[in-house]
Amino acid sequence: MTPLATATAATAPAATAPGFLSPTGVEIAFLLVGAVTLGAAVITVTTRQLVHAALWLVVALGGLAVEYLLLTAEFIAWVQVLIYVGSVVVLLLFGLMLTRAPIGRSPDADSGNRPVALAVAAAAAAALLWVVVDAFRTTWIDLGGPAQGSTRVSGEILFRHWVLPFEALSVLLLAALVGAIVLSRRNGDGDGDGDDAKDLKRQGPHRTAPGKDR
């Protein structure tokens, strides 16, 4: 968290810290969009209609993208839309339509783990909040100057300061990809070893999906 702070502090000039009492237009917009995002996120996890949950997730993720935009992180904002709204939610909807997507409420969509989930969510939120507050404290980003989150700046930070974590992440993703392929392989594919066969037996014989999804 501290390197993050230094990386940001390096780009943010230490201007005289503005107060909270006279917010600028961008700050007000940031708070309003944040409220909408939070509301959409809450509806996502509380609605009883599965597909509506996915669509509210679109609103929440889109709201996040707008927040990035307001912080002049344009590149991150568009990548957010491209990956999350354009691909992840589409994949989610695809999965829902393929399995169960009744119109109206799904009474069986509720889980008995509600209190536990709430506790985990609260703990995660508290941890994230603490990390962010601890990392940035009174750092102010000058939004009026040149964009600090432009593609060039993001690229330089990512591939100069953070290249090792970036590479580690891509190895992690590659491992996940290989794992997904192993899990979705069909029995008749020749050199399947014992583990594969056991996996398939456990999941039942009716696996006809071609395994071509991401």
Binding site: V51, H52, L55, V58, E74, F75, W78, V79, V81, L82, V85, G86, S87, V89, V90, L91, L93, F94, M97, L98, A101, I103, G104, A147, S150, T151, P210, K212, D213, R214
Partner: protein, 322 residues
């Protein structure tokens, strides 16, 4: 104040283009298809070669009753056409048609990411329509749409990334500023991959199984009538304009041409876009519809490797010429 006026004027022009060009493409499709199939096409509306046929169609759509099926999810059903159409309007804002600041609605720093991200959102409209209609054919159409999008988003992104590597920027005007004529043969594979993947994303023939009328009765749009159906149709034609414009900007050099580069650049952009739109129509007339498995196979075993090869080629050439 003049800033606000400037922005308003730009948005107005983009909106006008958004309303006019899809109709021009639609009318061209009527006539080109007719001539390729040895018939006349619309000849009466408006007098001269049926030029007002689409206006008449629009009036017809507006007069029809707006029906929402009883079992449908009303709000999602009614919202879907807007979600399908608006992204193309947003994309159009970022496409430069001529050199300089004056010929683009808004210069977006991460232009490639912006256009691809927002185009991907448009597909959500088809998914929402397919699910909310409470009709199994619509649901099948929605499923096919999603499967198709997931298969074709990747090669499209990879092909666009190749151009971004070549130009050293992800801004659309920046790419055109860096363009040289020999990029055409250099990036031709990427261009083909991008165009084919874009056709698939728009669900145009030969990639129109999501709306295959003879199999699943127009898929996600089965239950739509009147204006909302017209909006979906408009989204398809706006999509053609956007895809052809993007291919022009990314791969064909946009406003660059053999001559008349100063002042007439926008004509080159429009000409290239029009030629590509003609190719889109031509493909509709001449190619049979692919089967679902053929489509997935084409995406994963042909387009993705081709796009990766193009990226490798771009990288090698880029290093060599530096």
């Amino acid at each position: 104040m003049s800033d606000a006026l400037d922005i308003a004027l730009r948005l107005l022009v983009v909106f006008a283009v958004f309303l006019v060009l899809p109709l021009v493409v639609g009318q061209t499709e009527h006539k080109v298809m007719a001539h390729m199939q040895g018939r006349l096409g619309p000849m009466y509306a408006g007098g001269f070669h049926g030029w007002a046929q689409l206006v008449a169609d629009g009036v017809k759509f507006a007069q029809k009753e707006d029906v929402v099926p009883a079992d449908a999810d009303r709000r999602v059903f009614q919202l879907a056409p807007a979600v399908a159409l608006l992204p193309y309007l947003l994309v159009l804002v970022a496409i430069p048609i001529g050199p300089g600041e004056g010929a683009v609605g808004q210069v977006v720093d991460a232009g490639i990411f912006f256009v691809l991200a927002v185009m991907g959102v448009g597909v959500l409209g088809s998914l929402m329509a397919g699910w909310a209609s409470a009709n199994k054919f619509s649901l099948l159409g929605g499923l096919r749409t999603a499967a198709q999008l997931l298969a074709y988003e990747l090669p499209m992104l990879l092909a666009a990334a190749s151009v971004a590597m070549a130009a050293g920027t992800v801004s659309l005007p920046g790419i055109l500023d860096a363009f040289e004529w020999w990029w055409l043969p250099w990036q031709i594979t990427g261009a083909l991959v991008f165009f084919v993947a874009g056709l698939a994303e728009l669900q145009r023939p030969p990639f129109d199984m999501p709306v295959a009328d003879s199999e699943i009765i127009f898929g996600a749009y089965t239950e739509y009538t009147g204006l909302r159906f017209a909006l979906f149709l408009l989204a398809e034609y706006a999509g053609i304009v956007v895809l052809c414009g993007l291919t022009t900007v990314l791969f064909l050099g946009g406003w660059h041409g053999p001559f008349g580069a100063d002042g007439l650049g926008w004509l080159w952009t429009l000409l290239k876009t029009a030629v590509l739109a003609f190719v889109v129509i031509w493909l509709r007339v001449s190619y049979p519809r692919l089967r679902e498995d053929q489509l997935q196979k084409l995406a994963w075993t042909t387009l993705v490797p081709l796009a990766l090869a193009q990226i490798a080629l771009t990288g090698v050439v880029k290093v060599v010429i530096q």
